[in-house]
């Protein structure tokens, strides 16, 4: 009897036992977050009704089944992995042909162009406001987090700067611009404003440790919201501003004004599609340019990069400013589409959301940022619009928080990883290089 309990103890501390404990813990957490909301004045209500009710058995059973499957995989991992890899290689092999690759790009763009014609009005709006905008934002943050290996937690602050620039230059803020402009002309100005803010904020911070940037941007994201809220004589204060002008095209005799309200979705969809494609192309070229290689070098080993003549500070600030300007750019689009902005729309939570999109898709991977952002935003809105009894919209960040922790533990490279980035993370785990740019300059990794 004694020997058996001893063996159980040993087993429970071994890899299988620990994994079982992990899965059970995960199942209990899942039971808690899909459980009922707590009642005010009765703090244990939610916990009791999630854990001490029959439903918890289903969750634990699911956890045990998942453990069983994972054990199965772990036991046969070495045997199956080559086969899985081979199948995958076989599936992507045709794409190494340039013609097939370009053909599929054209096919994807055509599919994206046809998309708004086949979905309902509600989903058209979601596709523009929730998916398209966030894809653009995620692509920009991917430059900071993925390419440069920095952490920006106040990314939406630059989005706010872009949106308020649009409001300023179209003459609807309490302070008036020298001339009222079409939003198309605001785009470069907003990009410059966001970039300047990025450089001003990034320079003192990035000279120190990279991880200080995270807290400084977090503070900045909060502060700029307070400023927009409090400085009513400049920003319109908490009521926000209305009547931001739409985009309009007045060249070569073409006169087109982007419409208002529900009619605006489809034209803005195409505008966003163009900008997303442009962003993808630009960032792809950037990644493979001298600048992109410098970022890679800094990420992998900052000291060695510096020894090769790369100025890490310059390239870090550059990445931060490029991210900021993308965010500012998206802010102009958002403001002129909605036509109305107020400070509450630019919460720190939104910055974290964009970070989650990038992390989920895969840091440093353009298809990852694109598909990860689109998928998570689609899923979130799908859950919101389908009114499941177990899903409460306010709990979204409980799910997202748990998702981020799970991703970091099991798949830090994201669902569609960049090959370079996942190799780096693997090397960093063996103690070679850093895979990020957070260490203080000149210190050993």
């Amino acid at each position: 009897m004694k020997a058996r309990s001893d063996r159980l103890l040993v087993w429970s501390r071994g890899p299988d036992g620990r994994r079982l404990a992990g899965f059970t813990f995960g199942a209990l957490i899942l039971a808690l977050i899909t459980g009922p909301e707590g009642l005010e004045g009765n703090p244990t209500y939610g916990v009791i009704h999630s854990w001490l009710r029959p439903r918890v058995i289903a969750f634990i059973a699911a956890g045990v089944i998942a453990w069983f499957l994972s054990t199965f995989w772990v036991r046969n991992r070495d045997r199956w992995r080559p086969a899985v890899r081979e199948t995958w290689q076989g599936a992507i092999e045709p794409f190494s042909d340039r013609r097939v690759r370009w053909g599929s790009y054209v096919g994807l763009i055509a599919a994206a162009a046809l998309l708004p014609q086949v979905i309902s009005g509600t989903w058209q709006e979601i596709t523009v406001d929730q998916i398209g905008t966030y894809v653009l934002l995620a692509l920009g943050l991917n430059v900071v987090v993925g390419f440069a290996g920095l952490l920006d937690l106040g990314y939406i602050a630059f989005y706010l700067i872009g949106a308020y620039s649009a409001a300023y230059w179209t003459g609807v803020l309490p302070v008036h611009p020298p001339i009222v402009l079409n939003p198309f002309w605001v785009l470069p100005l907003a990009v410059l404003a966001a970039m300047a803010a990025g450089v001003i904020l990034g320079t003192p911070t990035l000279r120190l440790r990279g991880d200080y940037l995270a807290i400084v941007t977090l503070g900045f994201g909060e502060i700029i919201q307070i400023v927009a809220n409090t400085l009513g004589s400049v920003t319109g204060g908490a009521q926000g501003v209305i009547g931001i002008k739409r985009f309009s095209i007045n060249v070569f005799g073409i006169h087109y004004k982007f419409p208002v309200g529900a009619q605006a979705n489809v034209p803005y969809y195409y505008l966003l599609l163009v900008f997303v494609i442009v962003a993808l192309v630009v960032f792809h070229l950037l990644e493979n340019s001298r600048v992109g290689r410098a970022w890679t070098a800094i990420r992998e080993d900052e000291v060695a990069a510096e020894a090769c003549g790369i100025n890490p500070l310059k390239y870090k600030i550059m990445a931060f400013a490029i991210g900021a300007s993308t965010s500012g750019f998206a802010g102009v689009l958002f403001a002129s589409k909605i036509g109305f902005i107020d400070p509450t729309e630019f919460s720190v939570q939104m910055s974290i959301l964009v970070l989650i999109l990038v992390v989920f898709g895969g840091m440093g991977s353009l298809p990852g940022a694109l598909i990860g952002a689109a998928f998570l935003q689609w899923g979130q809105n799908f859950l919101r619009t389908s009114n499941y009894s177990w899903y409460n919209e306010q709990d979204l960040y409980v799910y997202f928080g748990a998702l981020v922790i799970v991703m970091m533990i099991f798949r830090p490279q994201g669902i569609i990883p960049s090959r370079r980035r996942s190799r780096e993370i693997g090397l960093a785990e063996q103690g070679i290089g850093t895979a990020d740019a957070l260490a203080p300059p000149g210190s050993p990794p």
Partner: protein, 308 residues
């Protein structure tokens, strides 16, 4: 001259906030020492301490109106409940969000992102389970003026905050300086690899560091919530400010965190007579950026692992 009106009132209020920032900042600074990481979820440890104190006091006090020795006992009870909840959350946090990454020797970016995830998970879970409206803590003592400084009244609450914080600060300073555990913390902060060769159990030291930070943060959460009430979002702003305080005093430096907290608390509160209250957070953030620009090592200098 607006600066001189209410000067002493604002000074005392700022000092009380500063004491609380100092307690939270210690959690950041200790963890930064051993892991070289900003523990973004520390603000949620703070928040859970407030909830712990709240629930215990709600059950114990009910509708009574305590006074005298009962008040002292209740404040101590609330503090203990807050500290224990904070420590429990910090312990779990380290186990779930940090240790698996440390086992794998994950890059630092992964730790920070995991901590952000944990922070969002924890505070939104608290909102889900405990309601999203702020709840006020039942009165454990009657707030009145104890004495006056240059005509500015010092309330009972301020006296409690000052006494509790000073006791805890001296205690933690001595623990880190004198005990075996403190030696372990300093050794890991100085050089984790060598410390492990010398027989220090790094996992245990890190876990204990989180627990100590959690005890202090949880107690601070309870103190902070006495006048403001408890809300699931309450951790965010004090969290950033406490980190600012830690940087201001010199990251990794225990006495620095204390001084940084007090300086920040007073410095952000004094201009309030000249500007709107909502600018207070902007002042604190401005201080963070200025410190980073002009004296990034803080007032007392960084002290990662050198004797406190």
């Amino acid at each position: 001259m607006c600066f001189t009106t209410n000067f002493w009132n604002l000074f005392i209020g700022g000092l009380a906030n500063g004491f609380i920032y100092a307690l939270i900042a210690l959690g950041y600074t200790l963890v930064y020492g051993v892991l070289r990481l900003i523990n973004f979820a520390h603000s949620e440890v703070f928040m859970s301490g407030a909830f712990g104190g709240l629930f215990v006091l709600q059950n114990v006090i009910g509708s009574k109106q305590p006074s005298g020795l009962a008040s002292v006992g209740l404040v101590v009870l609330g503090l203990a409940a807050g500290a224990v909840s904070g420590a429990a959350v910090a312990f779990l946090l380290e186990r779930v969000a940090y240790r698996p990454l440390r086992r794998r020797n994950a890059p630092r970016l992964a730790f920070l992102i995991s901590a952000i995830g944990a922070s969002y998970f924890l505070y939104n879970l608290a909102g889900k389970e405990f309601g999203r409206q702020p709840i006020s803590i039942p009165n454990a003592f009657t707030n009145g003026t104890v004495f006056t400084v240059f005509g500015a009244p010092v309330q009972t609450y301020y006296v409690i905050v000052a006494v509790v914080t000073l006791v805890l600060l001296v205690l933690i300073d001595r623990v880190v300086a004198l005990t075996r555990l403190g030696r372990g913390i300093r050794a890991v902060a100085q050089d984790a690899d060598t410390a492990s060769l010398m027989g220090v159990n790094i996992d245990r030291v890190i876990s204990q560091t989180f627990v100590i930070g959690g005890l202090l943060g949880g107690a601070a959460g309870f103190l902070y919530a006495i006048p403001t009430g408890v809300a699931y979002t309450m951790g965010f702003t004090p969290g950033i400010k406490a980190f600012t305080a830690a940087v201001l005093g010199g990251i990794g430096n225990i006495r620095g965190a204390m001084i940084g907290g007090l300086v920040l608390g007073v410095a952000e509160n004094l201009p309030v007579s000249c500007i709107q209250t909502s600018w207070r957070d902007v002042v604190a953030f401005g201080i963070l950026v200025l410190v980073l620009m002009f004296r990034p090592t803080g007032i007392l200098g960084e002290k990662l692992g050198r004797a406190a």
